[in-house]
Assembly symmetry: none
DNA sequence: AGTTAACCGAGACGGTACGTCGCGTCTTGTT
DNA sequence: AACAAGACGCGACGTACCGTCTCGGTTAACT
């Protein structure tokens, strides 16, 4: 009466194969057939549980992310933002960057992929918002700031430059951005 | 209609077919075969002049852009930035937005498409930089500002929100962004 | 329903499902999965007891045949042959005909199916041979006749026409065949 | 304006590959994919011109048949029938036999294949009927005989035994059949 | 004025991957 | 131990497009 149960082994193998192929051959050249072959799995098993290759990669990224840390909190919001945003920027130049780039690309014409991307981002954004809220409560950030928008001001430039490839991102990019942007986010100095 | 020399008629038909299909069926479902069929053109003619569907669309977008205006200059940088960025943002919700979204998506795993996207953007960025330079010379913008980065701070939030779909863009989005961001771009007030 | 011992209920359901599907959808479109679903049975149960769909149908046909009569014997061999062969011919135009046709088709490239078909036929052929032997002993058939071959002369034309579809079988087909063939099978008239 | 033209080279390669695979692996194990691979041809090319593997083989058989002889006519109908039918019977034990068997099998549940099989047979049957007509006009065959039926009486036993595998066909099978059957086909002797 | 060569439409070609179907096996609880 | 349910690896299906390649058939430009 009970249905045969899903093979966790296959699930893992499929996700790893997808991530591996995406890194080795790029997102566009990664195919369901290729994933099935490398995972030693039937295509049917993939189609039974995922609607597209993007969905597999999204699950892979979420798995990895779940095993990772949150936003740092040293008490110094400027240092924490610099650390976190720079680390994200550096991540974009790794293997993960290529996967993430492919997913965002797919999301532009695949509603389901878009949902996954948004779901992944939501977590990071919320973490950043929360850190900013802590900083605000500590008097390090203006109280009248829309924190969601603040996140967009912080990460927008990175994504703009990285996705649209308008220029190479310098190592110290976020230092410059923060130097310009932060004064607009902190409380106005006492006018005395 | 002319042999031994390129048919302008076919070129137009192909670009229009590509744009039309992209709007009607979406970027991903637009195929070279479909474009050829709708344009009443042989596939060979397409492959002779363009390397990919993205290239056709890029040419179409460039055509359209060339027939459009540059950056406004009313003398009031804040008003001009507000006008231009808002107009861009509104554009993203039109048919053009879907084409542009598809191209940016394709650019994530297609080097040639990426080049085209960058080429298109370069023009807009340069126009914005130039307007900022004028404003700076007029004392409306800090002299020590990296203008390229300033553009990224202005458009980054729009692209971040629009491409990553983290939330719907409110109508007055750029008003808020500018309210927060501009104080950081204008010259510091005389401390006396 | 009953563990540790074969479920007769399932056996019946499977055979009936197989026959039903074969009649409704045709032999080629009848699948093991379809049979299992219609019978409300697990595929394992089918594979445990039968090697192929042909085997199920063969069992079904044998079941039906076992419930049917043998060769008629009115004492008049001509009448009996006419009755029996015509009845077989008529059977080929019923639902059973489609099943039987499918089985013979499968038998052409499936050794096991071929065996089943032959086994089923053997019974009918032996019955016919026996009837002919009785007739021979009664002086109605030549004593030097190879009875096995006689059966082939009788049924060969039917199968030839039915399987190879060279022409529609007229209602009175066997009357004509017997009119031509029988004189060759009966004892030569006394030359006085 | 003119459409690109069909590749005769591919057509030949496909037919030869199909016949070859059918001989080597058997009809059931011959697949469109296998044919395409062996012929060095895209699957599309096969599907563009043939509806099924049976259709390819039918074309192959027709090609071969067109290059073959008709019915012999030595003036002696008995000898000619013996020669022709025995040669057909021998053919069934060759590679061709396996192909022909497969096609007849497929024809039992594939309307298109059935049509092809019938079309092929029609030629042979007509040739036989014609030969019988010549013999009849020469006084060697009864004038009141349905010649189509006569063909069925001649070939029916062969197909019955070969397709239904009720027993191995002895080498001299047709000698026996003709010895029994022919007296029924020739004109009645003068009763004086 | 006639020749010629590049470009045109059409679409067949060898391929790759698609997403689906059914195979026969295996696994999981239930009876 | 046999059962229903159904997931699994596998192989073939028939389809959609890819990018390349003939095919005639136009003209524009150069003899």
């Amino acid at each position: 009466m009970s249905p045969a149960t899903r093979s966790e082994e296959s699930r893992q193998a499929i996700i790893e194969a997808a991530l591996g192929l995406c890194v080795e051959r790029g997102f566009a050249s990664t195919t369901i057939e290729g994933i099935a072959a490398r995972a030693g799995v039937g295509k049917t098993t993939i189609y039974r549980w995922w609607p597209s290759k993007a969905a597999i990669l999204i699950e892979g990224v979420e798995n990895a992310r779940d095993a990772a840390a949150g936003f740092p909190d040293t008490g110094d919001i400027r240092a924490d933002l610099a650390a976190q945003t720079s680390s994200v920027m550096r991540l974009f130049n790794t293997e993960f960057g290529e996967i993430w780039r492919g997913l965002i690309g797919a999301a532009q014409s695949d509603e389901a992929a878009a949902e996954g991307v948004t779901r992944i981002l939501r977590v990071s954004i919320d973490a950043c918002v929360e850190r900013l809220a802590t900083a605000r409560d500590a008097g390090q950030i203006r109280t009248d700031l829309d924190l969601e928008m603040a996140v967009e001001l912080l990460y927008g430039p990175i994504y703009h430059t990285w996705l649209l490839r308008t220029r190479p991102l310098p190592e110290a990019y976020m230092e410059s951005v923060l130097a310009t942007l932060l004064p607009a986010l902190v409380p106005a100095p006492d006018p005395h």
